[in-house]
Symmetry: C2
Subunit: 336 residues, 2 copies
């Protein structure tokens, strides 16, 4: 059997489904509600890679679902990411998203926060309206709760000026905050949308892939191509994020450098001196911490892929399973 | 037939169900997650009147549901209010909620916003885990979306310094922002949880009751007993809310007073001069605008009750329907 729908076609189909499920400015009964509709459509219309939705679709097809059956679930997953990003950008005081100003920079925090809530409701609406199964709904519950819990961990470390953190702390946080919704949930939801019980390896391997993916993201944040990355380069340093790169650097730094870096990270974003941020940025690159994190990411991605390969190739429609693997492979060497 | 469960018992049962469904600090695997659990439980543990949940339970019982069958739906409704209040308090920069500091005043905006998202997910979790019907889930979608849309209207008026608003604008906004989830949804969800089709009058009369309820709330905000009200007295003036009271006052004020009031309302909360807020507060009370709004509220509440009475008394288990009416009556003369 040949996989008969390309990733570009899948992406376009998800995007179409998603935008069709959002309110249209031209149908609004008042100017204010036209604005509301534009806000809900803003992040989704900026595009994005639709990586998670595409993974979900091919996994679903591999397990026997129809494209029609998986599209609403994939669109809901993408919607999840969109509302979570709106709220994340507020929480992290981020300036940019997908190469444009963050939503709260355009409309202020109150309206953007509320638009995120409305999109959150739309996520559930898509699922319920399409008659998603209880298993799919429960997986969404788990995904949102895992993500929020990981987000709490990360933010409470920044809020509490915590630096007493090791690699296990980082892995636990990022496993919840990012890996679950990036890889575990798309794989599991694909199978569940097809009415299949997700293989246990989806959770274990998905966690490795998702963590690897996030570490690559942290690396790109420091050394990505600004034209492709879509977010502010070194934004994580301005925001004081506890990344694996930073934790490795702090572990290996001299007491003097450690003090200097921690002092900088304690300062609120707006008051951070730019030359100090540049110093830390350079030190992370020079010290080998970035290269080490990159190695960790590559190992995790390789292990995750190896574990998934036989399962996905052995799925009822293995040609789609092979496409899942191809997409996952592209995670290792990406630029955005 | 005698209604065999008192409102106090219903409240206690909802509260118990709700708290049992939230994570427990003592079960957390890390200190940060114990804090996360405390944050999720904070607003729910402050109590509140559980008015909406109680309305839902008695409506459900009136239409033949078991207490066991309606409790999860009522608890989810109360959870909705809790997360919406956490986000509202951030959006409105409110200081207090139920007599204590607002959640973001205790933990900062990022953590509080995220806790609200986690509670939002818990709302759906309660419903899905209890096996709520598609009709119940769709009604929740509608309720959250109506509320967010109304919230957008109100906030965009404040953000846009809009004063060109009349009574129809206010009624449209408050119908969506508050009346739907306060009265329409509890009545409809009660019937839906019992597997019954909600009578059309629930929407029409519920809207009147909910709007009346919100106007009473706006009145209490200006002249409530601080010990009972639980929020800051005159908080709406500090926040610049467009209430019916304010719109009536502006309509009837001299050009001089109108200019003075609008100038005050344009100033951000932190920069508002207290003596000017006191002046406007006094003028609203003296001018008759408060008394007029109170009359509008009483008319709406009376009309809503009258329309509902025969339907609720005629419900399959009319004794419970009578209790719904009793609770709705208490809305007219309340102090908190």
């Amino acid at each position: 059997m040949v996989a008969d729908i390309s990733p570009a076609q899948v992406r376009a189909a998800i995007q179409q489904y998603l935008l069709d499920a959002l309110p249209k400015p031209e149908a609004a009964t008042r100017l204010e509600l036209a604005q509301f509709a534009r806000m809900l459509r803003d992040y989704p219309e900026r595009g994005g890679k639709m990586l998670r939705g595409t993974l979900l679709v091919y996994t679903g097809l591999a397990y026997g679902a129809s494209l029609e059956g998986v599209l609403p679930v994939a669109a809901a997953l993408e919607l999840f990411q969109n509302w979570a990003l709106i709220h994340d950008d507020i929480e992290d005081a981020s300036d940019e998203r997908r190469g444009k100003p963050a939503l709260h920079k355009l409309y202020g925090v109150p309206l953007a926060l509320n638009a995120g809530d409305a999109l959150h409701a739309r996520q559930w609406a898509l699922l319920v309206e399409a008659g998603a199964s209880r298993a799919v709904l429960l997986e969404f519950v788990r995904m949102v709760e895992q993500t929020a819990q990981g987000q709490h961990l990360e933010m409470s470390w920044m809020e509490g000026q915590r630096f007493d953190l090791g690699e296990p702390d980082y892995l636990e946080m990022v496993g919840q905050k990012a890996a679950y919704y990036t890889a575990v949930a798309p794989l599991r939801l694909g199978a569940l949308a097809a009415g299949a019980e997700p293989p246990a390896i989806f959770s274990e391997a998905g966690l490795k892939l998702g963590i690897g993916f996030q570490i690559v993201d942290d690396v790109l944040n420091l050394m990505g191509d600004p034209a492709k990355y879509g977010k502010e380069i070194a934004g994580d340093l301005w925001e004081g994020k506890r990344t694996l790169i930073l934790l490795r650097f702090l572990q290996q730094a001299s007491p003097e450098e450690r003090r200097r870096a921690e002092a900088l990270l304690r300062i609120p974003r707006e008051q951070k001196p730019a030359p100090e941020v540049q110093w830390l940025h350079q030190r992370l690159l020079q010290s080998g911490a970035v290269a080490q994190a990159q190695q960790v990411a590559e190992r995790l991605l390789a292990e995750g892929l190896e574990a998934l390969e036989p399962v996905l190739r052995g799925a009822p429609r293995g040609a789609y399973g092979a496409l899942v693997l191809e997409i996952l492979q592209s995670l290792v060497r990406r630029e955005a």
